[in-house]
């Protein structure tokens, strides 16, 4: 009996010894076959970034996010800031084509200006990633918001808030020349076509300018104190719209829907204090991560620039009072830069 018991113990001990010993044998390491070529594909490559301008939350956020993701792999970053000047931007893109970076990340000021240039760039062997504002030319990748969807969802929010009320709404557009503004307006029209009961009492362009947005809103509210909602096209401008609503004492009575990049001070804080009721965010850090992912994939794939084309539309985050307090609904530029 005793023997049998000792024997059993021996087996158990032996088994447990083998179970420890087997992984010990594997400690010699196993080479992952693809990481080396991945690192080689990225190291020393240049990524050129041409936003419409630096110094605002979106373009600073994309830049910080891209840098954070790609610099550790030895990717060099070049930035050309046209500072809202379309001609300067076109010149920057032209000169970049002759410098031949591996990838160009392009934020279009409109649909037409860069289209031909971007096609040329891809023919020359440069991957082109277009962000947030696409051009008429479809390049290797588009990463960005779907403006039509933004317009639709903002308007749906306003229409819902207007149920049982006056059904009078106002639209504060951006700049007439900006395609993002025109696309958003199309989204607004799509929803309004389904809701004939809604009356648009004012639809004006405020040029992305908070002071103009405030002036228009004040006048509209004086004429229509029973207004039930406003669709604004950018949170940076709609601070002015919100100030007008607040001064008229109509906070909470006029539903204000807007959109933006979701930076904490410009979005969540303003939803929390009641300035905005809905802020459709296209979450800039996620967009930056998707761009970086696309760049990694393209560079390591070895695909010929222009031979494959795809789109990554951003999944929107609707920021309302319910999630404005959460850590993840918004982002801080200062943290992203760290």
């Amino acid at each position: 009996m005793l023997r049998a018991h000792q024997f059993a113990c021996g087996i158990i001990a032996g088994l447990s010894f083998t179970s420890v010993a087997v992984p010990a044998l594997a400690q010699q390491g196993l080479d992952e076959p693809f990481q080396k070529s991945f690192r080689e594909a990225l190291a020393g490559k240049t990524v050129a970034y041409v936003p419409v301008a630096m110094n605002f939350d979106l373009t600073e956020g994309w830049y910080a996010g891209l840098k954070k993701e790609l610099e550790p792999y030895g990717v060099k970053f070049e930035i050309r800031d046209p500072n809202w000047n379309t001609n300067a931007g076109a010149q920057a893109v032209t000169s970049l084509i002759s410098e031949k970076p591996a990838v160009m990340v392009i934020h279009n000021p409109d649909v037409q200006t860069y289209a031909k240039l971007l096609q040329r760039a891809e023919n020359e062997g440069i991957y082109v990633i277009q962000i947030n504002m696409g051009s008429a030319y479809r390049s290797s990748a588009f990463v960005g918001a779907n403006w039509i969807e933004i317009g639709e969802r903002q308007t749906e929010g306003v229409v819902k808030a207007c149920e049982g009320k006056s059904n009078k709404i106002a639209v504060i557009q951006g700049a007439l020349s900006a395609a993002a503004s025109a696309y958003t307006l199309k989204g607004v029209e799509n929803v309004l076509a389904k809701h004939p009961e809604i009356k648009v009492v004012s639809s004006q362009a405020a040029d992305w300018d908070a002071a103009k947005a405030k002036a228009i809103t004040q006048t509209v509210l004086k004429q229509n104190p029973d207004l039930c909602g406003i669709v604004g096209f950018w949170d940076g401008m709609d601070i002015g719209t919100a100030a007008a609503i607040k001064e008229a004492g109509l906070t909470g009575k006029v539903f204000l829907a807007t959109s933006g990049g979701g930076e904490r001070k410009g979005a969540c804080e303003l939803v929390k204090n009641g300035s905005f009721d809905l802020d459709m965010s296209y979450d800039v850090p996620t967009q930056a991560a998707q761009m970086a992912g696309t760049i990694k994939w393209l560079l390591s794939s070895g695909a010929k620039p222009g031979s494959i084309k795809g789109s990554e539309y951003t999944t929107l985050i609707p920021i309302t009072k319910d999630n404005a307090d959460s850590q993840t609904a918004c982002w801080n530029l200062s943290d992203l830069k760290k």
Partner: protein, 323 residues
């Protein structure tokens, strides 16, 4: 016998009165006390800027850096408070920055004798670039908790009158007293009318020119603070907008000739009222943006052409320095 003649100020006033009457009769909801206050409130900042420009233009200059002095010192206050400085310290820094801008402008024009058009164009670009490159993290500087209470400068109302209108009224009063009741004001008119004669009579014309630009910069900074308080943020990119043309429009339309020495606060008020009435009426009518610019241009052309017909220029009235 004196022939009865309209001058530009009266023509603009007649255009304003005609527009106002037409809107009052044909536009429902235009002639209400509430809408009148909104109309004024919407152009209060433009009016304050118009006063700053008027001081300089009366002294036969022009200040194209005015929008930069609206945006950068005002933005600096918001940025410093956001970074944890106290509000008084930030306001002091903004005041000093404005005075520095004014001094540089004045020195370039009065002592280095650079034409004001070029001097202020350059300083404006410099100041805006300085703000973007060194002072601000983002183009739109957001309001922060440290600014609590300061928004009363541009929001809410005093005795039922929106605060920004009260601020415009205070600025009007200060500039009026300065131009019409002080010796400095008289000097500014004298220099604007004939700088060489002014110098010969012993007026310290160079320091007075410097004073003009310092005053303009300080008023510009004040306008910026009112604007920031009214929209709870400072969109510093406003420097790239066409606001400066609107300011010049207010001044010239009101009847302050660019050749200097003429006009005053009343002209700025008339010019501001005309622009305000047009903007307000067109917003109520929901006229699209492109149409608004067209109408603004046509009204301006009518005013200028009428003036040229009624008061043709000749060798005697034309002055050197006309732009």
């Amino acid at each position: 016998m004196k022939r009865f003649r309209f001058n530009q100020q009266e023509i603009v006033f007649v255009v304003f009165a005609a527009l106002f009457l037409a809107f009052s009769i044909f536009l429902n909801g235009f002639l209400t006390a509430d809408n009148m206050l909104t109309l004024l409130q919407n152009v209060a900042v433009l009016g304050i800027l118009g006063l700053a420009m008027a001081i300089v233009v009366i002294g036969r200059g022009i200040d194209l850096s005015l929008i930069a002095t609206l945006a950068v010192p005002g933005g600096l206050v918001l940025q410093m408070v956001q970074n944890g400085h106290s509000l008084p310290a930030s306001l002091l820094a903004a005041g000093l920055l404005s005075i520095a801008i004014g001094l540089v402008n004045g020195w370039l024009i009065a002592y280095a004798e650079v034409p004001p058009l070029f001097a202020t164009l350059a300083t404006g670009l410099f100041v805006a670039g300085l703000g973007q490159a060194a002072l601000f993290q983002l183009d739109v500087v957001q309001w922060s908790d440290g600014m609590a209470g300061f928004e009363r400068l541009g929001q809410g109302s005093i005795l039922g009158i929106p605060t920004s209108i009260v601020m415009f009224a205070i600025a009007c009063l200060v500039v009026f007293v300065l131009l019409r009741r002080t010796r400095w004001g008289a000097y500014i008119y004298a220099i604007g009318d004939n700088p060489f004669a002014a110098r010969v009579t012993g007026i310290p014309s160079r320091p007075i020119v410097v004073l003009q630009y310092v005053l303009a910069a300080l008023i510009g900074c004040f306008a910026g603070l009112v604007m920031a308080a009214s929209v709870n943020s400072m969109p510093t990119r406003i420097f790239n907008s066409t606001l400066i043309y609107d300011v010049i429009l207010v001044v010239v339309l009101g009847g302050i000739g660019l050749s200097g020495g003429r006009g005053g606060v009343v002209n700025v008020i008339i010019g501001t009222l005309l622009i305000g009435t047009m903007l307000n009426g067109m917003t109520i009518l929901n006229i699209p943006y492109a149409g608004q610019n067209l109408i603004k241009g046509v009204v301006l052309l009518i005013a200028v052409i009428t003036d040229t017909f009624l008061n043709p220029r000749n060798e005697e009235t034309a002055q050197q320095g006309d732009i």
